[in-house]
Amino acid sequence: MEEENNLLDAKKQNILENSKKSILANKISVKKNDKFYALLFLGPSLLLLILFIFYPMLKTIYLSLFLTNGNGQNTVFVGLENYVSLLTSSTYLASLGSTFVYVIGVSVLTIFLGLLLASTASKNVRGSVFFRTIFSSTMGVSISVSAIFWLFIFNPSIGILNQVAAFFHLPILNWSTDPNLAMISVIISTVWMNLGFAFLVLFSAFESLPLSLYEETAIEGVGPVYRFMHVTIPLISPTLFFVSIITLIESFKSFGLIDLMTAGGPNNATNMLVYQIYQNAFLNGNYSQASAESVILTIIIAILTFIQFKYLEKKVSY
C-alpha cells in the first residue's frame, strides 16, 4: 500500500515537473534570436540617426534659447528672445520674403518647363531617345559646375548674355548687382539644375499613361489642349505633386548656388534661409541667432514633409 502511494506521489511529482517544464518551454520563442538581430540590423541606422539628426535637433533648440559669446559658447539664457528679435528684424523678414519668392519662382518654372520637356519628349519620333538624354542631362551637373557656367553667362562685363545684348544694341543688364536681376539669375540657374530630375520623373509618368484613354479621346474628337488639361494632367497629378513638393523642399534648403553665385547679395536680395544660417553661424559666430533660424527652417520643412507624408499615406501602405 505504502509503496503504491509513493509511486503515485512520484508520478504526481513527475507530472508537476513536466508541466512546469512545459510552461518554461513555452516561454522560449522560436524566434529567440530576433531581438539580437533587430539590434544588429537596426542599431547602426538608429544610432546614426539619433546622433546626427535627433540629438542635434534638440541641441539646436537648446542653443536657440541662449546668447553665444565670441567663442561660440552659450552664456546667457534669454528664452525666446532670439526668436522675437528674428521675427521683428526687417532683414530676417526680408530674407523670408525673398526665400518665398525664390521657392515659388523655382517651383513654378521647374514644373512648367519640366512638363513642357516631358510632354514634348513623350511623343515617339525618330531620335526621341537622343533628345530625352539631353533633357535629363542637367541631373548630372553639380552645384559648383552649374554655378560656374551661369556665373560666366551672367557676368556683367564679360558674360555672354551682355555681350549678345551689346551686339544687338539691347540694354546691358547688371545681373550681379541689381537685386531683382540677381534673384532671377539665381532662380534660372536653380531651375536649370532641377530640370533634369523633374523631366525624368515627369517623363516616366507620361510614359505610363494608358494608351487606350488616348485612343478614346481621339475618337471623341477632343482637341490636344483640352486633352492635356483634362486627361493628361489629372492622370499624372500624383507625380506632379511629388515633383512639386520635392522641388519646394529642396529650394527651401538651397545653399550652394547662392553661396557661389551671389553670397546672399546684393543687398541681401538672395539671402535665403540656409545662407542666413551659414552666415550667422560660420561667418559671424552668432550661433544663437543661427540656431533660432534653424528651428524656423525646420518648422517649414517639417510642415511640407508632413503634407508629403499625408499624401503618400493615401498612395502607399505603410
Partner: protein
C-alpha cells in the same frame, strides 16, 4: 503615344523645331562653358569670345596647376564610401522593419521616417561640434559618417522588401538560414533594382554635397570637388575664367557618365520609392 501616321509633315517639323530649341536651352550653358574652356583667359576677360585660337591649354593648366585631380579623387572616394555605407545600413534597417519581429517595430519605423522632416541644413552647428569632438574634422570619415544612413533609403528599401512574398522568408527559415544569410542571399538579390537605385541616388547626392564639406574641410587633401571648385574660384581673383571653366568641364564629365548609365534606376527608383 499618338498615331504618327496622322501627323502631317509640317506638324512634324514644328515638333522637331521645338525639340531642338529646348535642347539648345538645356545644352546652352554646357556649350558656352565648354567653348570658353578652350579660349585663352586674356581673350575671355577682354570680351573676345568668338575667336578661333582654341586650345586645350586651360585643361592642361587645370590639371597641373590646381589640385583638381585630388579633389576628384576625394569626391569619388567620399561618394563611393557613402554609397556603400548607405546601401548597407539602409538595407539592414529596412530588412529589420520587414522581416524581423520585435517590440515597438512600428514606433521605430515612424521614428526613422520622422527624420525626413528634419533638414540637415538646420543641424549643422551641433553636428559640427560632434564631428569635432570625435576628432574627425578635415577627414574623409567626417564627411561620410552623418550620411551613412538615410530615412529615404530605409523607406525605399522597406517598400521594396515588402513586395517580396513572405513565403520566401518562411522557406528560408525552414531551410535554416539565419537572418544574416537570408539578408545576403534572399533579400538583397531579390531587391536588386531598388538597391541599384539607392546606390545611384546616394552616390549623386554625396557627390553634390556642398555645405557639410565646406564646413568640415580645411585642406586640399580632403576637399571634394564642389568645395574645391569654390576655393579655386575664390583663389583665382583674376578669375582665370578659361581654367575655371576647364575645371568645371573636367568635373562634370564623371557625373554625366554616372547619370547616363544610372538614368533608368533613378527613374524607376524614384517612382517606386515615392510616387506609387
Amino acid at each position: 503615344m499618338e498615331n504618327l501616321n496622322q501627323w502631317t509633315g509640317s506638324k512634324k517639323t514644328w515638333h522637331y523645331l521645338l525639340l531642338i530649341i529646348l535642347s539648345l536651352l538645356i545644352l546652352g550653358p554646357f556649350i558656352i562653358g565648354l567653348w570658353t574652356s578652350l579660349l585663352p583667359t586674356a581673350d575671355i576677360s577682354s570680351g573676345k569670345l568668338f575667336i578661333d585660337n582654341i586650345s586645350l591649354d586651360n585643361y592642361w593648366a587645370a590639371l597641373t596647376q590646381t589640385p583638381i585631380i585630388r579633389y576628384l579623387f576625394n569626391s569619388l572616394f567620399i561618394s563611393i564610401l557613402t554609397m556603400i555605407c548607405q546601401v548597407f545600413f539602409c538595407s539592414l534597417a529596412a530588412y529589420a522593419f520587414v522581416f524581423i519581429d520585435f517590440k515597438y517595430r512600428n514606433f521605430y519605423f515612424y521614428l526613422v521616417l520622422s527624420t525626413m522632416m528634419l533638414p540637415f541644413e538646420a543641424e549643422v552647428i551641433p553636428n559640427f561640434q560632434t564631428i569635432k569632438s570625435l576628432g574627425l574634422l578635415n577627414s574623409y570619415l567626417g564627411m561620410v559618417i552623418p550620411f551613412m544612413t538615410s530615412a529615404f533609403g530605409i523607406f525605399m528599401l522597406r517598400q521594396s522588401f515588402m513586395q517580396m512574398p513572405y513565403e520566401l522568408k518562411e522557406a528560408a527559415d525552414v531551410e535554416g538560414l539565419s537572418h544574416w544569410q537570408f539578408y545576403l542571399k534572399g533579400a538583397l538579390p531579390y531587391s536588386k533594382l531598388s538597391i541599384y537605385t539607392l546606390a545611384a541616388y546616394s552616390f549623386l547626392s554625396a557627390w553634390n554635397q556642398y555645405l557639410w564639406p565646406l564646413l568640415t574641410t580645411f585642406s586640399d587633401d580632403y576637399r571634394p570637388v564642389q568645395v574645391g571648385l569654390r576655393e579655386l574660384q575664390s583663389q583665382e581673383t583674376f578669375n582665370n575664367w578659361g581654367m575655371i571653366q576647364a575645371s568645371a568641364a573636367i568635373i562634370v564629365i564623371p557625373t554625366l557618365i554616372v547619370l547616363y548609365f544610372g538614368q533608368h534606376y533613378f527613374k524607376s527608383g524614384l517612382n517606386e520609392g515615392a510616387v506609387k
